[in-house]
């Protein structure tokens, strides 16, 4: 029972990270058909601002010194600002370009951010300890669960509920959903393209900041490539969920998180190091079964 609970919390907390990442990618894809490969570097950037920029091996806290009540919103805001800045300086100028051009630009932007971090911090991973309170374990129905997992899961639930309310209940949300289905028609009804897209980037970047916080607390290191694996899985989740479907992206994020944790448990010991091979084989199987994804939106099917 306690083992099952531990597996469940592992699966949900890993799934949470993937779901938030997938949501960040799906939001941008929805409004401008851009797969933003710089997303992982937003995650890394949000983490490195916690540290003083130095190429020495030492790690000195910069924003990491802030009390948690400031630290969390500031890091999330920095993710949002970086994401908005990349829209204004790069993607806005490429809006008429074809999707491949935009995707390449996002790769390039990711490299620019990554190498800027390399210049400022060197490539050595740095140990970093923030929000130490989250390291303790709590007892949930007899099982010892890391507090961080509980907080991650709860925060994800709150974020998902808030985002759903935002999308369903506010005018911005309505405009964003309409733009994701047919941007030109939305604009002909007066929906301001720049505003909707900037907002999508802001939310996406804020999610990247939140992911960065969770990963850094979990691993205790700041690593230039720390966003990469989350970003890749998140990207796969958006495809499995059905490109353009926010709901699908979240569900697929949790499914992949769950599958990874489950494989770790049920695979024979010798096969565990190759867990990802099994997870991705499952991904391929799902895509062969449903190439359009699990929850392909009606509008994008019509577009083809």
């Amino acid at each position: 029972m306690t083992a099952t609970l531990q597996i469940l919390f592992d699966a949900l907390s890993l799934g949470s990270l993937y779901a938030l990442g997938a949501l960040g990618i799906a939001l941008i894809f929805g409004v401008m058909r851009l797969v933003n490969f710089a997303h992982g570097d937003y995650i890394a950037f949000s983490v490195f601002v916690l540290l003083w920029p130095t190429t020495e091996a030492v790690s000195i806290l910069l924003l990491g010194q802030l009390p948690p009540i400031l630290l969390i919103p500031v890091v999330i805001a920095i993710g949002a600002l970086l994401s908005m800045a990349s829209e204004v300086t790069v993607f806005r100028r490429l809006r008429e370009a074809n999707p491949a051009t935009m995707m390449i630009a996002s790769f390039a932007l990711g490299f620019v951010i990554k190498h800027a971090l390399l210049m400022a911090y060197s490539s050595r991973p740095k140990s970093i300890s923030i929000l130490p309170g989250l390291a303790q374990q709590v007892e949930v129905m007899g099982a010892r669960i890391p507090l961080l997992q509980v907080v991650t899961i709860l925060a994800t639930i709150v974020i998902l509920l808030a985002l759903t309310a935002f999308l369903k209940r506010t005018r911005f949300g309505l405009e964003m959903r309409a733009a994701a289905q047919d941007f030109t028609m939305a604009r002909m009804l007066g929906v301001k393209a720049n505003r909707v897209i900037l907002l999508a980037f802001a939310i996406s970047g804020a999610l990247a900041g939140a992911i960065g916080l969770v990963v850094v607390v979990q691993t205790g290191t700041a690593d230039i490539n720390m966003g990469l694996s989350v970003m890749l899985v998140a990207f796969i989740a958006t495809v499995i969920g059905g490109l353009g479907s926010l709901y699908g992206a979240v569900v697929a994020g949790f499914l992949i998180g769950g599958a990874s944790v489950l494989m770790q448990v049920i695979l024979p010991l010798e096969a565990r190091p190759f867990r990802d091979a099994f997870v991705y084989a499952l991904v391929i199987a799902v895509l062969i079964w449903r190439p359009q994804g699990l929850f392909a939106p009606r509008s994008s099917r019509q577009r083809v």
Binding site: R177, Q181, R298
Partner: protein
């Protein structure tokens, strides 16, 4: 001053010139039909006015303001409401959300709510299903929804591209009946694109005939006779060809 004035509009898609110097005007309160065969450039004309395609040459003025090359949202905010070809409903939004989307550009939300009531009175079918996804509606119902949605922006001019496209004759009659009722009740100014001029002759107003990106004929609907229209439509040069066929 005309509500809409288009002067010498030229639109190119790469090598292809879709509009070759089109000029027309729409007066406050009137209905102008733009007719012409498939590929004549009718949709291109509306798209250029709406700001969806950028003209190579020419000027477009709405109530005196130059809107040439404006972004679609800017033109919409100045009072030009477009109902594009093929009924672009947002299939996953509810019917009411579809209608409410265009209200973002209005200051007076109370007036918008009153308009919604009026639209529901004219289209009871939309009220009944207002919380259903718009994608479930039939073609005719979607056509009514997009017309209603355009009206929710409180436009000065509504442009509708082929409202009869793909609909059964009986449904087309219904769409036009409701459109004419709205025109009377709300003093609408309309710019309607249709392939055939039959509907225009039945509905009244003014008509321009577009062929190969040029206006080849224009006049008041009740002053045009079918034979002249037909010759202009098919581009016969003289009666010899007509009798030969």
């Amino acid at each position: 001053m005309s509500l809409l004035a288009v002067e010498n509009l030229v639109v190119r898609y790469g090598q292809l010139t879709a509009l070759r110097g089109v000029s027309l005007h729409v007066e406050e309160g009137e209905t102008l039909f733009v007719t012409g065969p498939n590929g004549a450039g009718k949709s291109t004309l509306l798209k250029a006015i709406a700001g969806v395609v950028r003209p190579a040459e020419g000027r477009i003025r709405l109530a005196g303001a130059d809107i040439t090359g404006n972004a679609p949202e800017t033109t919409a905010r100045l009072g030009f409401s477009m109902v594009p070809e093929g009924r672009q409903v947002f299939p996953e939004l509810t019917i009411e959300e579809n209608l409410w989307l265009g209200v973002g550009i209005r200051r007076n939300r109370a007036a918008a709510a009153a308009d919604l009531d009026h639209i529901y009175a004219v289209f009871p079918m939309l009220r009944e299903r207002r919380h259903a996804a718009a994608g479930i509606l039939s073609g005719g119902q979607q056509q009514m929804l997009v017309i209603a949605r355009a009206l929710m922006t409180a436009p000065r001019l509504v442009a509708i591209d082929e409202p009869s496209l793909g609909l059964a004759p009986k449904i087309i009659d219904q769409v036009y009946e409701l459109l004419m009722r709205l025109r009377a009740e709300r003093q609408l100014t309309l710019l309607i694109v249709e392939q055939s001029s039959t509907r225009a002759l039945m509905t009244g107003g003014r008509l321009v005939l577009l062929r190969s990106g040029q206006i080849v004929l224009e006049g008041a609907c009740d002053a045009l006779d079918g034979a002249t229209l037909e010759r202009a439509y098919f581009g016969y040069d003289g009666p010899a060809e007509v009798t030969a066929s």
